[in-house]
């Protein structure tokens, strides 16, 4: 895999997620592009590369999500870790699935992205629930709903991201050559 191409795609996906995707919002739920990209890489890249790509994407997602701590005033901080772990676990789920799906079919990417999003959501919600016990720390759902309500919203978001990934599959599949994945040529051994 060509890392430069992946980083450019990841950069665009993060910019879209943080500043543009709300244009698709329906009842407060909007999709994300990053899970679709990580899933696409997990479907094609070598195992090690797919996992490192998940770490990098998770790191950027964590860096662009601000949390608030309440100690003698409100303190913003970045919770680096939950999305990294969530994306890695999600990728670990996608890796065995990739031999069972038709990778070039946009619907496959959509379905696997939704599963990826659900698994990542479970991991991050578990971490945020545990952190809710810490002093001065509130989970993302504090004040609005329960952990279950948050999981429901995040599940809908994962499904929305899956639906959006069906659209993303078109530019991704067109760029397969640019990504330079091993195994995309008929003569390459599948990793």
């Amino acid at each position: 895999m060509r890392w430069g191409v992946f980083v450019v795609f990841l950069f665009v996906a993060i910019v879209l997620d943080t500043a543009f995707m709300q244009v698709f919002a329906v009842r407060g739920i909007w999709p994300a592009a990053t899970p679709g990209l990580v899933t696409f890489v997990a479907l094609y890249a070598a195992r090690g590369q797919a996992l490192w790509a998940a770490v990098l994407a998770g790191f950027l997602v964590d860096c662009t999500s601000t949390s608030l701590a309440f100690f003698d005033g409100v303190w913003p901080y970045q919770m680096i870790g939950p999305s990294i772990l969530g994306f890695v676990v999600g990728t670990q789920l996608v890796l065995p699935l990739r031999s069972m799906v038709i990778r070039k079919n946009p619907l496959s990417l959509g379905l696997v992205t939704a599963l990826f999003g659900l698994i990542a959501m479970l991991v991050t919600t578990a971490i945020f629930s545990a952190r809710g016990w810490y002093a001065g720390t509130q989970p993302p759902w504090a004040g609005n709903s329960s952990a279950l309500g948050h999981m429901g919203n995040e599940a809908l978001r994962a499904i929305a991201s899956g639906a959006f990934a069906v659209l993303l599959a078109i530019p991704f599949n067109t760029s397969l050559g640019a990504f330079g994945f091993a195994g995309t040529s008929p003569w390459s051994p599948r990793r």
Binding site: V15, A19, F20, C63, Y77, M79, G81, V88, A135, R191
Partner: protein, 307 residues
């Protein structure tokens, strides 16, 4: 078919597990330990993203603008509401302008009332719009937004807080602005030393300072002055140096210029006292001044005012 290894070298494997353990530890660190440094790490990432995010959010707002709560109202109601908002904004702006003008007028009246020649003083309100900090090549300067159009003439005294000299207007006054020489750059000014509770100009009458010792301030190059006093009379640290110079406008007489920092005998002339005076105000931090001058026949016909 045997499954291939995810990571081929032990180093790669160690690096991977190190990253995962680090992510786990970071995920469960106490929140206090994450404050500060995580924002700095994220700041590096965000500094690259922000320009692109700005463009993306602009496109998003263009595609899907924020819903207007008045959109459902009839057209004439919307027009009336818009007119009302416009009138409110105009009224608020007038209120703010009136308050600012009243404040300026009060400052001008106070300053003129404290002048020893009262109504025969000419006062112009000016805002300091720029400063040039002192450097090895210059003593610095202040630039005001009042110029000859507002009646500013060279030599006018810039007064801060009704009683303290902040500087003097330099030559070549522009039409729309003037350059002030900061008080810290002035030299050769004759002053008299009075006790801190001495000058009482509220009644518009100059205090009697003729019996107080006087001196000519010489700039010491360190934002202060020195003077040698030969006359008898008490001077102590904390006393105030007030203007008593016939070359200055009458309206500026007895204005405060500095405070006595140190008094001691001169090493080479023990009968002389060396007085070190520090400025009362940092002229580079003054936001606005009142420029004072005496009314002359020429100026009386075209008195200025607030710009």
């Amino acid at each position: 078919m045997p499954r291939t290894k995810t990571f081929h070298t032990p180093l790669e494997q160690r690096l991977w597990w190190g990253t995962i353990v680090a992510a786990l530890i970071l995920s469960f660190l106490p929140t206090r330990w994450l404050l500060g440094w995580t924002s700095e790490v994220a700041g590096v990432v965000n500094s690259v993203l922000v320009p692109f995010q700005h463009v993306a959010s602009g496109v998003r707002t263009w595609l899907r603008p924020m819903p207007d709560p008045d959109a459902a109202l009839p057209a004439d109601m919307q027009a009336m509401r818009a007119q009302l908002d416009q009138a409110r904004t105009y009224y608020k702006r007038l209120e703010l302008e009136r308050a600012a003008l009243e404040e300026r007028l009060a400052i001008l009246e106070r300053t003129v009332a404290r002048s020893p020649i009262g109504e025969r003083s000419r006062a112009v309100y000016a805002t300091v719009v720029a400063t040039q900090a002192p450097s090895s090549r210059s003593a610095g300067a202040l630039i005001t937004n009042a110029g000859s159009r507002n009646g500013v003439t060279p030599g006018m005294v810039a007064v801060w807080d009704d009683t303290t000299v902040a500087g003097r207007v330099a030559e070549n006054v522009g039409r729309l602005g003037a350059v002030l020489v900061p008080v810290t750059a002035l030299s050769g000014v004759q002053v008299r030393f009075v006790p801190p509770d001495g000058p009482a100009r509220a009644d518009g009458v100059a205090p009697t300072t003729i019996d107080k010792p006087s001196g000519i301030l010489a700039n010491d190059g360190h934002q202060g002055w020195t003077t040698d006093v030969t006359q008898p009379g008490e001077i102590a640290p904390g006393w105030i140096a007030v203007i008593d110079d016939e070359r200055w406008p009458m309206s500026a007489r007895a204005l405060k210029i500095g405070v006595v920092d140190h008094v001691g005998p001169r090493d080479d002339a023990p009968l002389h006292r060396r007085v070190i005076v520090k400025p009362l105000v940092d002229p580079f931090r003054v936001p606005h001044v009142v420029l004072l001058d005496d009314v002359t026949d020429a100026a009386a016909s075209g008195n200025g005012g607030a710009p």
